[in-house]
């Protein structure tokens, strides 16, 4: 059984995933910055950890076969399909909107709103997994502004390693302002595990 949701820009959705279930994200018009938070269904203290995911996978990028890990180092989700490219675990460098408002603060507000819906207090909201964006890194450690990746119809699929509650945040503020990208929608499909 499957269900599909549309995720509009600057909105978030929460979904429940059972062990073995799949979360599919499609970008019909091309990539749009998407952040993911997750908590273990039976233990909301245990939530996604970018730091542990980076340390255990030995990479700042997410791609096929990457396992997303929790605060207590439990496997949460595995990337089982990805035709968009390398996705980022890195924080976006701060930049400012033309109207003077910092984009990082706007990005954090959207993320904290989503975190609240899955039971996270603001101080527990972690650095999110970020899909359809990639931050280039220079040898001396400079982090470039996020580049949006993913051609039209790019698809990403993650498989739950445990029962989860997931928040997905369409967050254009983690990338430089781009009106065309900012309007793009994403489609989220939940596939229940096969018996």
């Amino acid at each position: 059984m499957t269900s599909t949701l549309k995720l509009a820009p600057e909105q978030h959705v929460t979904v429940e995933l059972k062990f073995g279930g799949r979360l599919c994200v499609e970008a019909p018009a091309g990539g749009h910055p998407l952040q993911l938070l997750a908590v273990v269904a039976g233990d909301p203290r245990d939530r996604f950890s970018a730091a542990n995911t980076l340390a255990i996978n030995k990479s700042a990028y997410l791609g096929p076969d990457t396992v997303l890990l929790s605060y207590f180092c439990q496997p949460l989700l595995k990337v089982v399909h990805d035709d968009a490219g390398e996705h980022s675990l890195l924080p976006s460098p701060a930049s400012v909107e033309p109207d003077g408002q910092p984009r990082a603060a706007a990005a954090l507000q959207l993320l904290e709103n989503a975190g609240k819906d899955i039971g996270l207090e603001p101080h527990q909201v972690p650095q999110a997994a970020q899909f359809f964006v990639r931050h280039a890194i220079t040898e001396d450690g400079q982090v470039a502004p996020a580049a949006v990746i993913g051609d039209p119809s790019a698809r990403l699929e993650l498989e739950a390693q445990v029962d989860l509650i997931v928040a997905l945040v369409s967050n254009p503020f983690i990338a430089p302002a781009d009106e065309a990208i900012a309007r793009r929608e994403l489609f989220i499909t939940i596939e229940e595990p096969t018996a």
């Binding site: 245990d46 255990i56 700042a60 924080p91 460098p93 910092p102 527990q124």
Partner: protein, 207 residues
Amino acid sequence: MSPIQATFDEVIPARHGRAFEVNEGDVIRFTDLEGQQCADLIAFARDDLSTRMSPFASVTETGRIYLSTGDALVSQHFEPMLTIVDDTVGRHDALCGSCSPGMNRTRHGGLGAGKRTCHVNFVEALRPYDVRPEDIPYSLNIFMNYPIGTDGRVEYATCMSKAGDHIEFRAHRDLIVAISNCPQELTPLNGFNPTSSRVEVFSHTVA
């Protein structure tokens, strides 16, 4: 404002941690006493424990993974908490958080079981402040040599610090600070031999 006085001065034994309080304007000095030793540092606003130093937000603020002299360490809401005011090594990690029982189990299986970890050191040190284990924030890892390639690959390497190398932080507000002498002995980080360090806090007193 003078003279400068050490209000806290302790040698932290290998594999252990400490928590202590600092006032706005105080300078915290961490010294690697024997070389090749990294330490995890976390900080909370003393009047609001939900405000904590965030290495990830600090990378957002600076646009750099490697933080050093002059860089501000900010809270999750980008408020200044500490500034690095001196640094004789120039290589620290802001991304990989602390070692923990879960990480040891995942990375080393049974070999990692029962070892001390930075997360456990923080839980113990912060017990007087009622910080829950799941609320220990991610750390700035002093002297931790965790280079990231342009391809995004990361690998643990041995700390570049020598005996006597130090880093200093100035506090922007009243803080609770905890430092864990990293007990990791199964990766090259501490040269497979965790050792001791010294933490001093200097305050300006009104003459």
